[in-house]
């Protein structure tokens, strides 16, 4: 593989950048693999990469029905954080933060990781108390957390509404300084390029349509480009998990819902933090191109349409304008939607299943982008060793049966109500 470096950049400039190697090959399916990863989103690509890198398993194919990174990986708002209270979530995410910090070097690909910090705003004394508790829990797990009062928040984000008589006054906020954003496409491409260089086949435009299961064991998959034999399958299809689960005669604690996001026209640098509104569901950051990137609630009903409706967008942006009134002057540039695998307690599932050789990775809800490296790393371990790692022990499928839920937000079984 050709290394990306300043020297190669200069060298290739002489030939007008016409002679760069392809970042990855367009593979055609072989008859048989050791492991097949279904879904060429962030989690599938990262899983294949760590299978090859950490476990020396390279006879691997990633099967993607569309194009690589065209699902939620290419639609998210790129927030990366580990501001969780429960140990299982906190330790898993913080392990991920470490991988994020090293990712550009590790992948030899600039993923533009930008640890600019996230502030969750509080709008009442009660909310300040809750944030203090969360911040303390984070610090007990060695995660950075700073509780800010109103004046301190004003210092950092003066463009927020600090006037008197607002409906939701800003009392303060909880900041995780090491949180931030990254370029989602680059993460997908970086993992794909490295996985490919270690021998992984990346097969696009190939839909998995069924499974060959007999005697409780995986024997192969059926795809739109023919049958393929395989002993181990990692299911990484995010918002399509319910569809493939049905083909395996499984019903899972996940519902598929629609989440929208949008960006404004680009403006000069105004906001250098990720900020979330505490009296509803709205968050904002500014992209490197200057667009204000915004999102919030689900549309609220089961959906596989990758496009949303106006009422939710209007509701979410009303919150945004309440928080930062200057937004009302900007023009909307684009809106889009993705289909979300909403688990019943708001936490993901990375586990084995009752079918031998079938491994499940789903339930990412609003926050699966930040989990990309940690999810790939632990899922690769689970597949290679046929047992879960300590880091994803809490993300078991059986927790719904045994009552060991990871209900971080206290939303119970209807995480889509929020």
């Amino acid at each position: 593989m050709q290394k990306y470096s300043i020297f190669n950049l200069i060298k290739n400039a002489f030939s007008g950048h016409q002679n760069w190697d392809l970042a990855w090959k367009d593979a055609t399916p072989k008859k048989e693999y050791d492991v097949i990863i279904i879904g060429g989103g962030g989690h599938g690509l990262a899983t294949a990469y760590y299978l090859a890198k950490e476990h020396n398993i390279t006879n691997v194919a990633i099967i993607e029905k569309g194009w690589l990174g065209g699902g939620n990986m290419g639609r998210n708002t790129t927030i990366i954080r580990s501001n969780y209270m429960h140990d299982d979530n906190a330790l898993f995410s913080e392990f991920g933060m470490d991988l994020w910090r090293k990712m550009s070097q590790d992948l030899n690909y600039n993923v533009m990781f930008s640890p600019r910090g996230i502030i969750n705003l509080a709008h009442s004394d009660a909310q300040m108390n809750v944030f203090a508790r969360r911040g303390n829990s984070m610090r007990l797990n060695d995660i950075d957390a700073v509780l800010l009062n109103r004046e301190e928040v004003k210092e950092i984000i003066p463009m927020a509404d600090f006037s008197e008589n607002v409906r939701f006054p800003i009392f303060g906020g909880l900041m995780q300084p090491s949180a931030g954003t990254a370029r989602h496409d680059a993460v997908a491409w970086g993992y794909a390029r490295q996985a490919d260089s270690m021998g992984v086949d990346i097969i696009q435009n190939c839909e998995v349509t069924g499974f060959d299961v007999s005697g409780g064991k995986i024997n192969g998959v059926r795809t739109s480009r023919g049958d393929i034999k395989v002993k181990k399958i990692g299911l990484c299809v995010a918002g399509s998990t319910n569809i493939l689960a049905e083909k395996l005669n499984m019903t899972i604690p996940v519902e598929t819902h629609l989440l929208q996001a949008c960006v404004t026209e680009p403006v000069k640098p105004v906001l250098d933090k990720v900020v979330t509104f505490g009296a509803g569901h709205f968050y904002i950051s500014q992209s490197d191109k200057g667009e204000m990137v915004m999102g919030g609630d689900l549309d609220g009903y089961n959906s596989y349409a990758q496009r949303g409706n106006l009422p939710t967008l209007q509701h979410v942006l009303t919150e945004g304008i309440a928080m930062m009134p200057f937004l009302s002057k900007l023009k909307m540039l684009r809106t889009w939607g993705g289909i979300m695998d909403m688990s019943m307690d708001g936490s993901p599932i990375i586990d084995k299943t009752h079918i031998e050789g079938l491994y499940l990775n789903c339930g990412w809800c609003y926050g699966g982008f930040k989990a990309t490296p940690a999810s790939g790393w632990t899922f690769a371990h689970t597949i290679a060793q046929d047992r879960v790692h300590k880091l994803n022990e809490g993300y078991s499928l059986s927790r719904f049966n045994t009552g060991h839920l990871l209900d971080e937000k206290g939303l119970g079984t209807k995480t889509w109500i929020s």
Binding site: Y301, Y304, L310, N401
Partner: protein, 88 residues
């Protein structure tokens, strides 16, 4: 914007309703021996079909009745609405 025809009030906009999820899920019968798996299926496990989906909505800012809606989860087309005690 979805337009939902409340069987009690007529055609109204989505803003007046709140969503209640899969309408085919049945609560296990009272006073019967029920396995953990049955409870699990009732409380947590969902098919979340792509295509025709029978679901509950509440006409919250209207008559406040729960209703059933048959809707396509891929196109959002609504085929039919029913009173909560009616079967499709």
């Amino acid at each position: 914007m979805l337009h939902i025809k409340c069987p009690h009030c007529g055609m109204r906009s989505q803003n007046e309703f709140s969503y209640g999820g899969d309408a085919t899920i049945k609560r296990p019968e009272l006073n019967k021996e029920i396995s953990d798996q049955d409870w699990n299926n009732f409380v947590y496990n969902r098919k979340s079909l792509r295509g025709k989906h029978l679901e509950l909505w509440q006409h919250l800012s209207g008559c406040r009745q729960w209703i059933k809606v048959e809707r396509d989860t891929a196109t959002h087309e609504i085929f039919k609405t029913l009173k909560a005690n009616q079967d499709i």
